[in-house]
């Protein structure tokens, strides 16, 4: 899996800002936020194989990449109470 194209990272950055809640009191600039989007995508790319290996064999071998990503997304949603 490759990192996201720049246009996709830009879209994530824009969508993230549009979804910020009123009164969130965000102290970082747009550039700093964009750097964080890039870093998160880089981290996913770097650790994708590690995540795959951490999954039990039945899921690892039967789920598609998209299903494995969805599984991770649901765990993160529950852990951090994000939607």
């Amino acid at each position: 899996m490759a990192i996201l194209p720049d246009a996709d990272r830009q879209a994530v950055w824009a969508d993230f800002m549009r979804a910020l809640e009123s009164g969130a009191n965000i102290t970082v600039t747009k550039t700093e936020l964009r750097d964080a989007i890039n870093a998160a995508d880089d981290w996913i790319d770097l650790n994708a194989a590690s995540y795959n290996l951490a999954l039990p064999l039945p899921v690892r071998t039967s789920f598609t990449a998209k299903q494995k990503a969805k599984l991770l997304m649901w765990v993160i949603r529950r852990r951090f109470e994000v939607t």
Partner: protein
Amino acid sequence: MASGNTLYVWDATDGIPPATTPAGLDRRAGGSTPGESFIVYDFDAAADEFVDFRGIIPQNYAGGGFTLRIWWGATSATSGNTIWNAAFRAIEDDAEDIDAAHTYDFNAVTDAAPSLSGEYTAAVITFTDGADADNTGVGDPFILRIARDANNASDTMTGDAELLALELRET
């Protein structure tokens, strides 16, 4: 009219969205019980967006130029700068065809976000009388177009900028 006197006041609800790339009308809930409804226009942080306000220059305008105060706050940010743009389009008597394209000549101000999301501040843009305000004269209808220059590298504030109200004074 004396310098500094108010010519016009617009609430966000007076804004007219242009046909494309308009800012979005939104309601920000106040903290009281029951909560107030602060109607604002949200200006995106990634793409330039616009809202128009209309008026007629009052008869007591004495030609001193215009000072526009843009009351705004941040949806979520507490730091960084927002660049506001403003420009006039005069609709002079039997002279301006609104079916024809008009090139808005924006004046700009860079303003720092209030220290808390939920606080508002006034950014100030001035126009000299004459061409700087598209020669908008006494009795002329006009459009005052407001924009956030979001794709400018110096616009650093994360998230939406909320336009609460405008005040137009004679300079």
